[in-house]
Amino acid sequence: MNRNKVSFRMIQYELRNVAGNPFVHIFGVGFPILMSIIITKAVASEAPDGINIGEIVTSIFLGFGAIIPLATILMGYSSTCSQDIEKGIPLRMQLFGFSEKYTIINRLIAEFIYMTFAFVIYFIVGINALDIVRPVISGVIIYLICLYVFAAALFILAHAIANLVKKFGLTYMISMLFYFGVMILSGMMGITIDKLPKGVRFISNLLPSTYLNKDIYTVWVGKSYNYVPMLQSYIFFFAISGILVFLMIYRSRRNLH
């Protein structure tokens, strides 16, 4: 029996693993819906006359979409992965003939399926509860590409953190700090980026979520947009994740006696 392949049964298994983590539902589905509705309502009610409410609401709603990969993948995957490592499950699965490579691929697919499910719910609720501005097709495609590429970088980061730390408690703490830190630095927690201190703003500009929060409306409605800073933030983010993965591999080689 060939266990080293992308298989429906393993994706199903990994999907059950993802869905078995209650925090993923709370922070990945419930929290973004709640936050986007509360904040958009609050901002819209305080907006001065003449302001385009639709733009503000859509911008906040799209920005909060970035919370979904942060919660489902960064927090969700890193916590279950570290928990598995702590219990020795990856080794057990390896001994059953599952290669690490295919386990990761199956898990990535499962994570993306769950994230897609969370997005569908988020958009169904958002479209029905909020006045979302109608997008252009290219805007939707670019928005989704941005989110899924961000999610891929977060998956790499989560895998590296879990494998470097190896302890569930510490991994969970790091991912929670990262989750709320990114939300604050990306201007999702009430403080806009331009109000942040200069040094902190510099860090903000290195995060893809910052552009998903403040600029994505421009892309959504098909206006012209300079993608260079956003692309740079993605490159930076992948580079950081890559370095951590490199450290992870280096450490695991050193630890193998």
Partner: protein, 293 residues
């Protein structure tokens, strides 16, 4: 020949965990009991054969680690789903559609556990769960590392009986690590005795018994009366509470048993006691004996 281990050396940091100098060959159909105190290198041996620790030396094998199945000392699974889903994922099959799997589930009386999560299973159920997964692999070589540790006497007995019965007419080779000698008496035909990373003895159980204990032994309680009564007979190394008398000739055995019966002393006769093989092989090795094949 299934595999041969040559000059295998495993180090954890600066400590040598395992050092096999004389080649060890595992043949098809062998049932090897691996014994030794904690830290003897038993689990390290399995890990080496599975290729999950670095080693020097060579393992010449007709099978790859992927063809080996293993029941590790500690087996954990996710708690986020019922065990039947884990079972179906690991075995890449559906329980409903797999007659062999159904047979194993029924053989191990595991039906009522299928919808439970791994964390709520009892110790015995957890062991049986991994055993089912391992057996379904139908590997030419299967390792059982302390499969019954932590289980109560009755559960342990039942589990070993199941293992013996399952493998009775099968060709698979087994490598069973255990601290319970009575388990190995049922499961193993060969013994590999390890101590502090060294191989003390390896070979067929009965041959090792002859080598270290003789034709047969008589075991009695160690007390002043028995000591006095048997003082003229040679004795083997034994636990402090026992006296072990080797009987290399039938006449000697008859003489001793007559003496014991006359004095109303309880005794046990054995020609395959693994504990005595272990104790005496270890003693001989410590006194400068050589590794045995």
């Amino acid at each position: 020949m299934l595999l041969t281990i040559n000059n295998l050396n495993v180090k954890y940091g600066k400590t040598t965990a395992l050092n096999i100098v004389t080649p060890i060959t595992i043949e098809k159909g062998d049932r090897i009991g691996v014994i030794g105190s904690n830290g003897a290198g038993k689990t390290t041996l399995i890990k080496s054969l599975l290729g999950i620790v670095n080693y020097t030396g060579s393992i010449d094998s007709t099978i790859t680690p992927a063809d080996m199945a293993v029941h590790m000392q500690f087996n954990e699974y996710t708690d986020s789903m019922a065990v039947k889903h884990i079972m179906e994922a690991v075995l890449q099959t559906r329980i409903k559609k797999n007659a062999k799997l159904q047979e194993l589930i029924s053989f191990f009386e595991f039906e009522t556990c299928l919808n439970k999560k791994y964390k709520v299973l009892s110790g015995g159920q957890k062991q049986r769960f991994t055993i089912i997964l391992v057996m379904m692999q139908e590997a030419p070589l299967t390792f059982y590392d302390e499969v019954s540790s932590g289980l109560d006497f009755e559960t342990r007995q039942k589990l070993v009986e199941k293992l013996v019965s399952w493998y009775k007419d099968k060709e698979a080779s087994l490598c069973v690590i255990s601290h319970y000698y009575e388990e190995l008496e049922q499961l193993a035909n060969k013994l590999l005795i390890l101590d502090q990373g060294n191989v003390i003895a390896y070979g067929y159980k009965d041959e090792l018994f002859k080598k270290y204990c003789g034709r047969a032994i008589l075991i009695i309680d160690n007390n002043e009366k028995n000591e006095l009564l048997t003082r003229k007979y040679p004795k083997l190394a034994a636990p402090n509470n026992l006296i072990v008398l080797p009987c290399n000739e039938e006449e000697v055995e008859a003489e001793i048993t007559t003496l014991l019966i006359k004095n109303n002393i309880n005794y046990k006769r054995s020609n395959n006691d693994i504990e005595m093989i272990f104790i005496n092989a270890k003693k001989e090795f410590a006194s400068g004996g050589v590794i045995n094949e």
